[in-house]
């Protein structure tokens, strides 16, 4: 026989609401993880790369370019120098110059520059070496662009966190309204239990426990709804995962599904796994607060 000491929670649509909120939170977290990864990549690239453009219509361009490459290689802090092929430069400039006609590179009368991509440790200053060896070369540190992109990434991360926070706030509000409606609907029973000497915490904990359980189940349902989306995302990412034997089609077995999901960052999987527990905590705390405030009206 159940040990009843207080009216419970008339759940209404609480599990469904929490399931939908969990789905939204999961999507926001997936977006947040992607944006964070992008911002980190931009941040790394911003502090460790430079582009050098060398006009090809200067005297001894080829020899002087090789001399610059040697001088850069001799520098401490330079980790890699990549000389872009003419085709690659053409490809990069094609949005502005159009596609080449026949064997001609660039526009008629306009020669394409040599382009060097120099990777270096943060803080390495290439300016002196480049200007001393090949003054006609144009050095562009990617730092400025990278910093702008980094700021953009940080802003996007902030927006994603704001979205997650808003979803949590809306979930708390929905739970609070459900609990308040439930308590109002059982006003008489709550008053009877109170009149017989039930402590406020006894009543609120009973209702909050039920709210936590329903929120947890709603969170699990939300994860189930989220699973096709996360699996689809992982399947899309699998060609970029640099791991062998990864499925690229939508998995049809449990093993295949798990292997596919593991492509996603472990931090994201942990966050998604925590959502039902977070929903349960949110449900418990919100219900406690709402019921305790409601009970203050009783003597």
């Amino acid at each position: 026989m159940s040990r009843r000491v207080s009216p419970g929670l008339r759940s209404g649509s609480l599990p469904l609401l929490v399931a939908l909120m969990t789905l939204l939170a999961g999507l926001a977290l997936a977006g947040l993880t992607g944006i964070q990864a992008l911002a980190e990549g931009w941040s790394r690239a911003a502090h460790s790369a430079a582009t050098i453009e060398i006009p090809t219509d200067i005297p001894n361009a080829s020899d002087r370019t090789n001399a610059l490459i040697q001088a850069l290689k001799a520098m401490n802090g330079v980790t890699n120098i990549q000389k872009l092929s003419t085709d690659k430069v053409q490809e990069l400039l094609s949005p502005w110059l159009g596609q080449p006609v026949g064997s001609h590179k660039g526009l008629p009368g306009l020669s394409l520059p040599e382009v060097l991509i120099v990777a270096h440790t943060p803080g390495t200053d290439l300016t002196t070496t480049v200007h001393d060896t090949l003054p006609e070369a144009v050095l562009q540190e990617d730092l400025q662009w990278g910093q702008r992109l980094e700021r953009l990434g940080t802003s996007l991360t902030g927006c994603a966190w704001l979205a997650v926070t808003l979803i949590a706030a809306i979930a708390a509000l929905s739970i609070g309204m459900t609990v308040r409606r439930s308590v109002a609907a059982q006003k008489r029973a709550v008053e009877i239990v109170h009149a017989l000497g039930a402590a406020d915490l006894t009543i609120s904990s009973h209702i909050a426990g039920r709210a936590a359980l329903l929120s947890f189940l709603g969170g699990i349902a939300g994860l189930v709804l989220l699973t096709p989306l996360t699996t689809s995302l992982a399947t899309t990412l699998s060609p970029f995962a640099h791991q062998s034997a990864l499925p690229t089609a939508f998995p049809t077995t449990l093993d295949g599904w798990w292997t596919t999901l593991r492509i996603l960052p472990s931090s994201l999987l942990k966050e998604l796994g925590a959502l039902p527990f977070i929903a349960a905590c949110l449900g418990w705390l919100t219900a406690q607060g709402v019921v305790l405030v409601w009970l203050r009206r009783l003597p």
Partner: protein, 223 residues
């Protein structure tokens, strides 16, 4: 012990007090009839004594605790020592009769085995044990009243308040209830019974609290 000194009760949203300058002193282990016409303030006084409201003014002590300044925790502990049989029974319709009657014992943290034994004992005594697992909403008025009486008695309260506890009972059951009240008084319980039943009052003569228009009748607490 119940002690009221110049107590007034003014519910929220009501302009005039429903009880005025009420002064009472009922020693522990005594019986009082609570009498008066409809609207005299009997239910308001019972509401005050069951701690359903705090006095607007005056001094009120119940079982040695001053209600005016008592904390919520102190009021909660006092409520557990007061049994009440409301006129409208106030049973929780969604719960079984057993759960309704077991509630005071569960709130005191008693074991389920003891609770089961005591609940069935009191339900059998009141002749409603057959309905233990039914919902009170399907019971007759008299049966519901007996369930409400069972809930009030099961915690062996120090104060027992009853509002028209016999109006849905048969005569034999009403007599039996009065003898139970007497047993409780002998054990030291203070019992106050509000009634319109003059026959019942004649059958069990006892001091009365007479109310009229929210005040004690000048000839109140008549022997």
């Amino acid at each position: 012990m119940i002690r009221l000194r110049d107590v007034s009760l003014k519910p929220a949203g009501v302009g005039q007090p429903v009880l005025h300058s009420m002064t009472l002193n009922i020693p522990q282990g005594e019986f009082r009839w609570l009498l008066g016409p409809s609207g005299a303030g009997k239910s308001s006084l019972l509401r005050l004594l069951t701690l359903g409201a705090r006095p607007a003014s005056g001094q009120m002590d119940i079982l040695g605790t001053s209600i005016t300044n008592a904390s919520r925790g102190a009021l909660r502990n006092l409520r557990r020592r007061i049994g009440f049989v409301p006129q409208d029974y106030r049973l929780i319709g969604e719960w079984t009769v057993f759960d309704n009657v077991a509630l005071p014992l569960r709130l005191r943290g008693r074991s389920e085995r003891d609770i089961r034994q005591e609940v069935f004992s009191v339900l059998e005594w009141l002749d409603v044990a057959a309905h233990a697992h039914s919902r009170p909403t399907i019971l007759s008025g008299g049966e519901q009243q007996r369930v409400a009486i069972a809930r009030a008695l099961i915690g062996r309260p120090d104060i027992l308040l009853a509002d028209e506890p016999t109006n849905a009972l048969e005569e034999s059951q009403a007599r039996r209830l009065l003898s139970t009240f007497q047993e409780l008084i002998d054990l030291g319980t203070t019992v106050i019974v509000a009634t319109h039943n003059e026959g019942l009052v004649r059958e069990a003569p006892a001091p009365s609290i007479m109310l009229r228009d929210g005040t004690l009748d000048p000839q109140a607490v008549k022997p």
